[in-house]
């Protein structure tokens, strides 16, 4: 009798933008990610869920080449992260941004074009117009000249999405894009992400909100250092998988096409 090999993600998907094979990474000799296998298909909307400290942010940073890996490979359209990552838009966690920095919305979006312009050269009229166009796409054309600290949480998040758009990305990576954002902005952000998917941009977002992922995303990654499950939310948000992911008890309730998740972390503590 042989032990069934434990699940560690899968690599088979058609037309992948990002592929990760057997990736390990960590900080100070403690692993944050183990044996991660993953692929992100073009035009898909994928949510990453898992407990705090389960490696959600590290997962994104490994793809972006911001965390040096222990082993394994990441490929972005066949290129290594350092060569391919300019094809990835990134929206960092709100807490990682210095909102008091004296820049306005347009300045931030313009930064998305810097990689294309090359060293030393200054952004010109063309870049400014394109940046304004990106701001208009997220519905913030009228706020171009406002300092980022004056914007609401949802607007700030959309400015960063506009900056990612200014990179003309193949994939968009967002770290907790809707946490601390009001319901109206949340809806606007998802409409935007869905529109991007339809245009062929792959979207990968972390979230701590399971019902949001269940309702809005096509696929979900359950991550707790390793990938516990990867598939359609209705398939992977089962009591067993979620309990394994969160190392605690979960109840899932299905009503029509929507699954609702009831967490009871207290039971286990």
């Amino acid at each position: 009798m042989h032990e069934p090999r434990r699940f560690s993600g899968n690599l088979d998907c058609s037309d992948p933008v990002v592929t990760i094979a057997d990736r390990w990474a960590g900080y100070n000799r403690r692993p944050a990610l183990e044996e991660v296998n993953f692929c992100l298909p073009r035009g898909s909307l994928v949510g990453v869920v898992g407990p705090n400290g389960g490696g959600k942010s590290t997962f994104l940073k490994v793809i972006l080449g911001l965390v040096s890996p222990w082993r394994g490979t990441v490929s972005i359209l066949g290129k290594r992260p350092r060569e391919g990552r300019h094809l990835l838009g990134y929206v960092p966690q709100r807490e990682d941004v210095d909102w008091r920095f004296p820049v306005n919305a347009l300045d931030v979006v313009l930064m998305g074009t810097y990689g294309r312009i090359g060293l030393v050269r200054r952004p010109g009229k063309g870049e400014a117009e394109f940046a304004l166009h990106c701001l208009a796409r997220v519905g913030l054309a009228d706020n171009a000249r406002r300092q980022i600290v004056e914007l609401s949480g949802g607007q700030q998040q959309r400015v960063f999405i506009a900056r990612a758009l200014a990179q003309k990305p193949q994939a968009l990576l967002l770290d907790e894009p809707v946490s601390g954002v009001d319901a109206v902005s949340q809806h606007a952000i998802f409409e935007l992400l869905e529109a991007l998917c339809e245009q062929g941009v792959a979207v990968l977002a972390t979230s701590h909100d399971l019902s949001c992922v269940a309702g809005r995303f096509q696929r979900a990654v359950c991550l707790n250092r390793r990938i516990v499950a990867y598939g359609a939310p209705e398939d992977v948000f089962t009591t067993d998988i979620l309990s394994e992911t969160y190392e605690s008890h979960f109840l899932t309730v299905k009503a029509g096409n929507t699954s609702y998740v009831v967490g009871s972390e207290l039971l286990n503590r």
């Binding site: 990552r85 300019h86 004296p102 300092q147 004056e150």
Partner: protein, 296 residues
């Protein structure tokens, strides 16, 4: 009408009078150059929270000065070497993140400063020279110092001008700068090396202890009044030049140390900017600012 004219002649006379002396002319040129460079680099220092490093680099460079003094070498070269070494050392430690950042700086800079004092105590004019370097002596600035300060200022400002967009992006969001394809590691070291050169340039004028105030105070005052990076840099430079000129004249007419006078004028600018009604000072609203500090 005549009293207006005589008032004007008198004030012009007061302004020109000190410049009869070549040492005052040298001092004025050197101080204004230093003021400009400090404000430009200081804008990055304020926004990136590098004040403590700036202080450390200035203090640590004292070890280099003392060594150059003992060996009879060029003082600027010694100071520059020590400053750049400290700055890159701190940059290296901070990228590795093995020791707490503040602790590493604290250990390094007081250690190097003490080494400087010990070495300096072996020199004959110990007390006088020590004071000159610690508190600055702008009146001792000679022709060749002015040329050196001019060249170094030109180099620092030139680099900031050429790499303005990269430095701005790096200062705002280092991770994203590297994702987009900018050489983030290089920019990290570059900012600290520019900071090191700036402190050396400023040292002769304001001294090791006061350098940090020239770096931080004018841009901080400007930051309270402006919304955009470029404007913060420009307004900060204006404050810095005004503070330098006013401070220098004060030191001439009421016979006080020039470095301290300049820093005090800068401090007044800062306090005035702070006291302006919030409507004018376009900074974040208090409630929002509190939320931000909680988040960080």
């Amino acid at each position: 009408m005549s009293w207006v004219l005589s008032f004007l002649t008198a004030s012009v006379g007061l302004l020109l009078e000190p410049l009869r002396f070549s040492f005052m002319l040298n001092a004025l040129v050197a101080t204004v150059l230093v003021a400009i460079v400090c404000a430009v680099i200081g804008t990055f220092v304020v926004l990136k929270g590098l004040a403590f490093i700036g202080d450390a680099v200035a203090h640590a460079s004292f070890a280099g000065i003392a060594t150059a003094y003992l060996l009879g070498g060029n003082i600027y070269l010694g100071a520059g070497f020590a400053a750049v070494a400290t700055a890159t050392g701190i940059a290296f430690l901070s990228r590795r993140g093995r020791v707490s950042f503040d602790t590493a700086i604290g250990v390094l800079f007081v250690g190097a400063f003490s080494l400087g004092i010990v070495l300096m105590s072996r020199v004959r004019n110990y007390a006088v020279d020590l004071l000159n370097f610690v508190f600055g002596n702008v009146l001792g600035v000679g022709q060749e110092d002015v040329i050196l300060v001019g060249v170094m200022s030109f180099v620092v400002l030139g680099i900031v001008f050429v790499l303005y967009k990269e430095l701005l992006f790096y200062a705002f969001d280092a991770e994203m700068a590297s994702v987009v394809g900018l050489p983030a590691a290089l920019l990290h070291y570059l900012i600290l090396v520019l900071l090191a050169i700036t402190t050396i340039v400023a040292m002769k004028v304001v001294g090791i202890v006061l350098v940090v105030a020239m770096l931080v105070t004018p841009p901080a005052a400007a930051g309270l009044l402006t919304k955009r990076f470029s404007r913060m840099m420009l307004v900060g430079t204006f404050f810095s030049i005004a503070g330098a000129v006013i401070g220098l004249y004060l030191s001439y007419y009421i016979a006080v140390p020039s470095g301290a006078a300049i820093v005090l004028v800068d401090t007044c600018f800062f306090l005035i900017a702070l006291a302006l009604p919030r409507r004018l000072s376009l900074g974040p609203e208090p409630q929002k600012a509190a939320a931000l500090t909680r988040g960080r």
